[in-house]
Symmetry: C2
Subunit: 234 residues, 2 copies
Amino acid sequence: MNNYPQASRILVAIDCIIFGFDGKDIKLLLIKRNFEPEKGKWSLMGGFLNVDEDLTDGAARILYNLTGLEDIYVEQLETFGKANRDPGERTVSVVFFALIKIDDHDSEAVKSHNASWITLDARPKLIFDHEQMVLRAIEHLKYNAALHPIGFELLPERFTIPQLQKLYEAIYTIPIDRRNFSRKLLSTGLLIDTGQKNNNSATKKATLYKLDAERYKTKFHSFWNFMPDSMKSN
Amino acid sequence: MNNYPQASRILVAIDCIIFGFDGKDIKLLLIKRNFEPEKGKWSLMGGFLNVDEDLTDGAARILYNLTGLEDIYVEQLETFGKANRDPGERTVSVVFFALIKIDDHDSEAVKSHNASWITLDARPKLIFDHEQMVLRAIEHLKYNAALHPIGFELLPERFTIPQLQKLYEAIYTIPIDRRNFSRKLLSTGLLIDTGQKNNNSATKKATLYKLDAERYKTKFHSFWNFMPDSMKSN
DNA sequence: TGTTTTTAGTGTATTATTGACACAATTTAA
DNA sequence: TTAAATTGTGTCAATAATACACTAAAAACA
């Protein structure tokens, strides 16, 4: 069956931007390719869409292969379609944006793909247009973390408000007032006090919170103001 | 040259959501297909990406063919990739979101494509997953028009604040307080008073404004608050 | 044991923004 | 001239954001 005889069939790739947070820096999961083409160079984790596979399933497959995780936070980001973006053959790439809790991933799977967590500002040169994809993903992260509660996806199940603040300071590379930040976050009603305290701390132990899963789901698309207005200046 | 022998080549379609505003209702430019497949049914304007064509050029080509316009506001919206979304052959569709000044389009081109402007809530059943695409586009319009100055793309070069308000009321289907809306819009500094008055009015003539093009360009990505907080409720 | 240092948690005064509403001005038609 | 419709501007109270001060807890160390 061929309803569209004159149209071009094109390779459809999937590339994944995977962000993590180690408590101090935002990190990217990148692979050093031990396969052709471009063997030995750094790139995003990717693959090709199969002809009988849903696009979202393709992204989930690639993410699972690299991280061993099935319940990752994923959004479709943008499709990159410059005619010459892959010198090997015309390929359109659908880029996905993923946030993971950095300690949850399967380190065996990561190792077998020759992948590493790399701090954002220490990232190497990447193949093709992958650097543009990363820039687009950083932009997306900054934009969306200010409006929607996606930051939590980068933190452990239980987290403290100071941890959350360090995350936001890493995303926006600005200092944030501790007291105003705390008030703003607590006023969303998203945080549930677990009654536990953080033991990692060297001094006063901070309260551990978890997400109010119900409220998170139903209010995810409300606009919040997680960042000071100065971030969104005119 | 074939670097990826085992990967699938897939049709890549481009579909365009084209919004207009007639002063009263938000409208969609839809085509009644006079070609196979699905002849006689309604659909979005679309086509296939050529193998040597940039994705954005493909979208511009399709938009130009239908509207005769070259300087349309276009964003890439989302790529739809369910395996069975086109029963004819596996096709991935990249959907573009376009806003046009409804009086600017070439009505000959529109007629020759068998296209019509159709009010949003009077739209017919569409082929394939085009209804989902439209819903996604409406969501995008509502979300982005509240934060960024994209509404102007739907109005003539020179417009009045009451016209602008009617547009926002059509997008969100809520009444907006005239005085607060005016204050909010003027405070953005985006509007330049042309000194002219609108003649269409039956009573008091409203001031015609135009966009401050410089400020529009440089401040486009700032966050604004074009809608009352109640729209973005917790 | 108590003092110092560091980090966490809560409070408050000032300023800016928003929302609700009143009133004056302009234009056409009766 | 008057009435009706619409536009433009102003005010006040409530709310939210910002800048800052103080108290509490925990560990290190004299």
